[in-house]
């Protein structure tokens, strides 16, 4: 092969090769950065999600919020038993309005509802409620 006769083509070919290598390098860096950016985005999303979950279900004021349940109706209608982070409560002779109020309040507190039983007794309702947090 007489390479000298094709010296000029060789020079141009090498320059094209160099350009292609540069282009591939750039593309690789872009792709690498996109991946890194996606990973960082996912990590940030995960961290924020954990923080949000922790704020809802690990809220230190849950105990106080649960205690407010017994103040929603007359104390004579409530039997309240609280042990550590668990509450067992029995509400009796509740009107439909009172029942709604208590249930709505329970639904808005971030506790694990272990048991919720409602029975209509005559014109009123009885409710048993067990939760933990």
């Amino acid at each position: 092969m007489n390479w000298k006769a094709y010296k000029n083509e060789l020079i141009v070919g090498l320059a094209i090769l160099l350009m292609l290598v540069g282009f591939l390098y750039k593309q690789q860096q872009i792709s690498g950065q996109t991946d890194a950016s996606a990973q960082a985005g996912n990590a940030l999303h995960d961290i924020k999600e954990v923080i949000a979950l922790q704020q809802v279900w690990g809220d230190k004021k849950i105990s106080k919020k649960v205690d407010k349940l017994k103040t929603l109706v007359s104390p004579s209608k409530v039997k309240w038993q609280k042990k550590s982070k668990k509450v067992t409560a029995t509400f009796s002779t509740l009107s439909a309005k009172e029942l709604n109020k208590v249930v709505s309040k329970i639904l808005n507190i971030a506790v694990v509802i272990q048991k919720l039983e409602i029975k209509k007794v005559g014109p009123s309702y009885t409710m048993e409620f067990k939760c933990k947090w």
């Binding site: 000298k4 750039k26 690789q28 979950l53 694990v112």
Partner: protein, 310 residues
């Protein structure tokens, strides 16, 4: 004379030359058999300007072909223009066993018109002489008897020569090749610089993560994060489901419907509704089915049980 340190042997190229066997690169000196020359006084100052007008000077003298090249040289009272056919020369050299890769620079006999003081033998019958400041080939018989011949030696190598290129095989000329190569090289540099800029980390997001973790140091470890997320995600999905069920059932209480019993624990729920008539039972049943709850009508009465798994 060559003061540029060009040490390659100088080989005179003429039509009568023998086939060569070369082991090392050589410089070539072409006899007038391979070129056409003209001396002109033209009002140009630089070689590139002279080269530009060279083709017009040979109009009618040589056939216009793409493989004609021009050599120009400034002389005391004008310019020397030489036109040569690069393909014809390359073909001839190949026939004589001179491979292109063994050719260094190519010179023209005309360049040594002033330094060649004795005739140079060309084959058996002809000789290269300088006459009227022009190098030409004449029959040896035309020379004075007893005249001594000299051989072309390296000392006669001129300073300026040409490189045989752009003829056979090569599609590009050196100038074009360098222009193209420069353009591609500039692009290559641009791509490398841009690539290097992209190689830096996405600092904005990293800073944001660092800020968030600063406020919540317990989440620094990804293991801790996964553990907390696993714990709370399970609770979150289960408790959301329970609340959705209670909300859905509460929407089923409308005029003519009374909740009789309801129970819910970690795994299932069950509610019984008493209705004022069969139409309301049917409506409630449809609503429950729409929510994919299980329904059971209570015998002997307008009541319905709705239940499901959590």
């Amino acid at each position: 004379m060559n003061f540029m340190g060009n040490t390659k042997p100088l080989l005179l190229v003429h039509k009568q030359m023998q086939k060569q066997t070369l082991n090392a690169p050589v410089n070539l000196m072409l006899t007038p058999q391979f070129y056409t020359l003209k001396r002109e006084e033209v009002p140009v100052q630089y070689a590139y300007q002279a080269k530009r007008i060279a083709p017009s000077l040979f109009d009618g003298l040589i056939e216009e072909q793409s493989h004609i090249r021009y050599f120009v040289s400034k002389e005391e009272d004008g310019w020397l223009f030489i036109a040569y056919d690069v393909v014809q020369i390359q073909d001839f050299l190949e026939q004589k066993g001179i491979a292109l890769e063994n050719i260094g620079k190519v010179f023209f006999a005309e360049q040594i018109a002033t330094t060649m003081h004795s005739p140079v033998k060309i084959g058996e019958k002809e000789a290269l002489i300088t006459h009227d400041n022009t190098v030409m080939i004449v029959p040896q018989s035309a020379l004075e008897e007893g005249m001594s011949f000299k051989k072309i030696d390296d000392m006669l190598t001129p300073a300026k020569g040409v490189v045989l290129e752009g003829g056979k095989g090569s599609l590009l000329e050196t100038k074009d090749a360098y222009i193209l190569a420069s353009i591609f090289a500039v692009f290559a540099v641009m791509f490398f610089v841009e690539g290097a800029r992209y190689s830096g980390d996405d600092n904005a997001q990293q800073e944001q993560i660092a800020l968030v973790l600063e406020d919540h140091p317990s989440l620094q470890s990804s293991y801790a994060r996964k553990s907390i997320a696993k714990k709370y995600k399970a609770i979150d999905s289960k408790e959301r489901k329970k609340r959705e069920v209670i909300n859905t059932l509460s929407h089923m209480i409308f005029k003519g419907v009374t909740l009789t019993t309801f129970s819910l624990n970690d795994t299932k729920f069950q509610a019984q509704f008493s209705c004022q008539d069969a139409t309301v039972v049917k409506k409630l049943e449809d609503l429950a089915k729409k929510e994919k709850f299980n329904t059971t009508k209570v015998a002997n009465g307008n009541a319905i049980n709705i239940g499901g798994i959590l």
